[in-house]
Amino acid sequence: MLYISTKYQIIRKDFPFYLGKTAHGGLWVQIKNLPGHLPKESPSHVQEIMKWNGWGYSDSRFLFNKKGQAEFTGKRYRLSGMIIPGLKDWFECTFGASLQHKTPPLLNSSAVQPPTLNEAFVEELKSTGIPFSQDAEDRVFRAHGHCLHEIFALREGKFGRVPDMVVWPNCHNDVVKIVELASKHNVCLIPYGGGTSVSSALECPPEETRSIVSLDTSQMNRILWVDEKNLTAHVEAGIVGQDLERLLNESGYCTGHEPDSMEFSSLGGWVATRASGMKKNIYGNIEDLVVHIKMVTPQGVIEKSCQGPRMSTGPDIHHFIMGSEGTLGVVTEVTMKIRPMPEYQKYGSVVFPNFEQGVACLREVARQRCAPASIRLMDNEQFKFGHALKPQVSSIFTSFLDGLKKFYITKFKGFDPNRLCVATLLFEGDREKVLQHEKQVYDIAAKFGGLAAGEDNGQRGYMLTFVIAYLRDLGMDYYVIGESFETSVPWDRVLDICRNVKARIVRECKERGVQFPPLSTCRVTQTYDAGACVYFYFAFNYRGLSDPVQCQNLHAAREEILANGGSLSHHHGVGKLRKEWMRETVSNVGMGMLKSVKDYVDPNNIFGNRNLL
């Protein structure tokens, strides 16, 4: 099965499968020999290959080795097993952090409260034969998403309210049974997909007195059928992104939905949070991709009667489901559009003299509606960050070339290294069209002073999104904490919101006694006709602070976003973290509408995660 030849150039190795192109521009895919992601016979084993108090796979992590050099362990990613020489200096200079000061996680999972069980429910559940568990580790694993405060608490060995048990339905009918039993016995259900939430959506409401059952959809991970005539696939909602893509690829198809979390996040989760994928410019966001949804609610199953591509039948009931964040029911099966796999894929990057020019270029690209599959613009800080993640180069020739490039851009073209920024691009499609498209985009970029900066830079930019969460764990080992958040905003506000939110973060940190200026950076990650999606990262050194998590002050940052015309969320969702702003976001009447839907569908609040409303 393993077939690697020098004839082929690997273009994507950061996934657990290889995506490459042949010398003739053809495309090939090769699946890595993965450990079974979710072995059927023992559903709870997922935590054996995944970290319970950090991001991602247990075998993949950043560390500073004995020589003080950063390296990334494991074999799963392009960066795996490599030395990253620039990271240490960047880390120390950016955060004023020192490798001498370590904060290793405390490892006690014993402090978990014993489960509150609803005996009658447990008895009846037993009779259905659906697997379940009351094991502390299983419960803790499903009690959190990946917000900083959640991970920070886990590392400190602090657990709040956790689910009292976990169930693993195997199919739609299992879910129907579980929801019926929960309604009958008044048990609180919290659907759990990939666990990659960053909105406190998975946190158990501390005030909940009923027994809380985490409904883990991970066993519902089959593709039930593929319809090649209509280019649709009917898939169980528990499937995670990488499996869905891998399985479809085997028959030459893809969905093209690639959120940054796609290694771990699930189809049901995407639907429940209105997810967005990196390549939405070609394939669309989740709302453009779904054709049919089946959801189990306490009132019964909701679904449409046909798969017509568009309907005028009153408000689209899919839009009650998408973004409901597990408050109405469990999405069990979804029919999605699929596409033949693209023949050709090409990365690219453009360097701009400053962020303003870069944004102007993206705006023009959006105006001409010629955005490639993905186009992202990183600010100067993030560009430097990306640069620090460059793995050790093997040949003197490469490093010489790098030096030459740098000289050309900064000296010959006069770009200020402290102001320049870089856009990363990903083109996809027919070879001919891709090359044509590429030229069109580079021509526009040139009008805004952009210089093409090679495929490698582009690719590294995308890699950053997959390893950033691992990097956060590294930071936490050394008193550095960080968080990310996003928004969407009209074009004319993009520059203002980026500047103001970044400045607000710096100011808040200063006011809260953070000693070293924080890393406060952003990128424009999606373009639309009328605006863009902006993603912010920030991180700081919290040594000497009593309550570091409070100091991150996401609240102030979000207030700043809203005051600058940004939305409450572009794709992360509201959860419990942002629900205080829901009313002003959707108006009183809007809130009433949503409430009345909830009241009808789930009058006893069986789906009691208390997200959104």
Binding site: D492, R493, D496, I497, N500, R504, A563, N564, E584
Partner: protein, 681 residues
């Protein structure tokens, strides 16, 4: 938090005791030419987009906001786009500055010469300069100096040049443009010119506001303007104008900048150059004709001693902190930001409150000289009718008493610490020898008979001296104002019940809100003044009553006399409106008519305060009466005034609880107070 930023100076423990540095000292010891030609490399705003004055213009003309308004004007008037564009361009041409370093250097040279001859020293608080330097790098800066003299803005630019700080662009009134050459010189030193009134002219407003915003947002230079709008002829702070403040805050509201720093600057002159000019203007006495003798007099101006100038750069105020919790910036989310919109209610009231706070900050940072206290005492003494003036040592004793009192009330008094009080007093008097006369060890105002022919002329020439003096007293007015309002409230209230006093206080406060800077928000003021008086032991506050202590008697007499001229002024305006206002009295005729009425009564000896001749006071009282609805303007009849006699009458009564026009001698009016104090201590 926001209020703390502005009011931190109130806290006596945090009292500004920044060191002042005399910048003239160096000028006297080194070459002016070298100074004017030295290397000038100021720190700039970190978000600066470098642009020349010329590119600024094209940025303005190409802005979305201007485009929108141009098309709007075209739609409304049917004019061609090119035509309106042309007009916009010429408006901008008329307005724009052409800041040039060479002109600044020229001014640096000449002003050094002029300042050295006119002034003993120009003292600047260095810490303020350091703060300014810091803040210029971080955010766009708006400089808000007080405005007492033509000198102000040249002085400001001169100081910033001296300290190697970014030179400001300054909003100046069109009247400068009358002087062709001077106007152009000022333009090249950073002034831009705006018409005094352009009411409904959308296009003008659009060009103007966009021009200011563009300079601010790009960090081209600090923007400087006078909150008070014009020079105060009375040395009292004027009610702030909101237009420009609104414009400079707008980029923050709309998220176009992270923050804007407002820096109040207080410039106090020991002797104002325009001293008697202002007094004449207030009295409506024509300026002396320009002639050879005029020229000689102008030369005389240059040869006289004008003492020192103190400039205090206040704590920068962040618009962001001010607006926290007060302005919801989301209100701009649903309409494109370039479409001009009238400020909403909350923004308007926020800008208004901020303007008052800033003017208050200017007042509180204003350095007061001993002469200010002497002027207050001499004026009170003059009114009390002692024909021979006051003995020098008695004046000194009173001045020392007042010095201590004013310090208790938080005055920023610059009284030489190591000089005997008598010397301080005599040197102050000698600096103002045009206003006072000392003979046989007694001091009084220089109200000589002179060459006046008619009694009216004599009265007016005396009034010039008195109003000049009053303008110095007014410098200290803000220190005593709040306690004085309370003192007068106690005086006029029908009993000592707290509620009565409070009502009376609120009434006076309301009545005088066109006259003085009284920040919106009554109760805290009352509290503050209570606090001041109580802490100095002048008042005792029990559960129900406000009592005057024995010790407090002198203080209260002083405080009430401070406010008395104003009370009487308002009363006499009321009297005039009741007795003499005819059906056809227009706003334009009001000042001459009321002046005639007052002169008549003054000559008949029925009014105590010559000060009430001040047209400023008359205008303010009319404005107050209009605001309160006691007088109405009838539209369409050239502003004919319609008087509600009943209401005006009752206001007059409430103001004094005693007739305004009377022959009684001075201190009689304080008998009330003394009886009260006997009662209540």
């Amino acid at each position: 938090m926001a209020s703390k930023a502005v009011y931190s100076q109130r806290d006596p423990m945090l009292k500004k005791r920044d060191d002042f540095e005399d910048i003239l000292e160096e000028r006297r010891n080194s070459s002016d030419l070298r100074y004017a030609l030295r290397c000038y490399a100021p720190v700039v705003y970190k978000g600066l987009c470098p642009s020349k004055a010329g590119t600024l213009k094209s940025m303005v003309l190409q802005s979305d906001q201007l485009h929108y308004v141009i098309h709007q004007v075209c739609r409304e008037t049917g004019r061609a786009v090119d035509d309106v564009q042309e007009e916009a361009s010429s408006i901008l041409e008329e307005m724009a500055h052409r800041l040039q370093l060479s002109t600044v250097r020229f001014f640096a040279f000449t002003l050094s010469k002029v300042f050295k001859t006119l002034f003993r020293s120009i003292c600047v608080n260095e810490e303020g300069i350091q703060r300014l330097q810091q803040v210029i790098q971080e955010h766009p800066v708006v400089l808000l100096p007080s405005h007492r003299s033509y000198m102000d803005f040249l002085l400001m630019s001169y100081l910033l040049y001296t300290y190697d700080l970014a030179l400001p662009v300054i909003a100046a009134g069109m009247d400068f443009m009358g002087m062709k050459f001077v106007g152009e010189m000022l333009r090249m030193s950073g002034a831009f010119f705006i018409r005094r009134s352009f009411g409904g002219d959308k296009l003008y407003w659009a060009v103007f506001s966009e021009y200011v915003k563009t300079m601010l947002k790009n960090g081209f230079a600090p923007v400087e303007f006078f909150l008070e709008g014009t020079r105060s002829r009375t040395s009292k702070s004027l009610t702030p104008k909101l237009g420009l403040l609104n414009i400079v805050m707008d980029p923050f509201f709309k998220g176009e900048v992270f923050d804007v720093s407002l820096v109040p600057v207080s410039i106090s002159y020991e002797r104002i150059l325009e001293e008697s000019l202002y007094a004449r203007e207030l009295l409506g006495v024509p300026k002396p004709k320009e002639s050879t003798s005029g020229l000689i007099k102008a030369r005389k101006v240059l040869s006289e001693d004008y003492g020192s100038i103190h400039v205090y750069f206040g704590q920068p105020v962040s618009v962001r902190s001010l607006a926290e919790g007060r302005v919801n910036r989301c209100q701009f989310n649903l309409i494109p930001r370039h479409i001009p919109k009238k400020p909403s209610e909350d923004i308007h009231s926020f800008v208004n409150d901020s303007a008052y706070r800033l003017v208050r900050a200017q007042e509180e940072n204003m350095v007061l000289k001993p002469w200010v206290l002497l002027a207050s005492l001499l004026l009170q003494n003059q009114v009390s009718g002692q024909k021979r003036g006051i003995a020098l040592d008695e004046l000194t004793e009173q001045a020392v008493w007042l010095r201590d009192l004013s310090r208790q009330y938080g005055a920023f008094l610059h009284w030489p610490e190591h000089t005997p009080p008598s010397e301080v007093v005599s040197s102050s008097l000698s600096l103002h020898r045009g206003l006072v006369r000392i003979s046989e060890g007694r001091v009084q105002l220089a109200l000589d008979k002179g060459y006046a022919v008619t009694p009216e002329e004599e009265l007016l020439s005396q009034a010039v001296i008195i109003l000049s003096c009053a303008s110095y007293r007014n410098q200290a007015l803000h220190v005593f104002l709040r306690p004085a309002l309370l003192a007068s409230a106690i005086h006029t209230a029908s009993s000592n019940k707290k509620q009565e006093v409070f009502n009376s206080f609120s009434f006076l406060r309301n009545m005088f809100s066109n006259e003085f800077i009284l920040c919106p928000g009554t109760y805290c003021m009352l509290f503050t003044s209570h606090w001041c008086c109580v802490s100095t032991g002048a008042l005792q506050v029990t559960q129900q009553e406000v009592l005057v202590t024995e010790r407090g008697h002198r203080t209260l007499v002083f405080l009430t006399s401070m406010l008395d001229p104003f009370l009487q002024g308002y009363q006499v305006v009321c009297r005039f409106l009741c007795e003499e206002a005819t059906e056809a009295l227009t706003e334009k005729q009001f000042i001459p008519a009321v002046r005639k009425f007052i002169i008549k009564h003054l000559l008949a000896g029925r009014l105590r305060y010559t000060e009430v001749l001040s047209s400023d006071l008359q205008k303010n009282s009319l404005a107050a009466l209009l605001r309160l609805g006691a007088v109405r303007k009838i539209k369409g009849y050239q502003g004919t005034l319609k008087v509600n006699t009943v209401m005006v009458n009752s206001l007059e009564d409430t103001l004094g609880k005693k007739p305004a026009v009377r022959n009684q001698q001075c201190l009689g009016s304080f008998q009330n107070i003394s009886t009260l104090s006997v009662f209540f201590v």
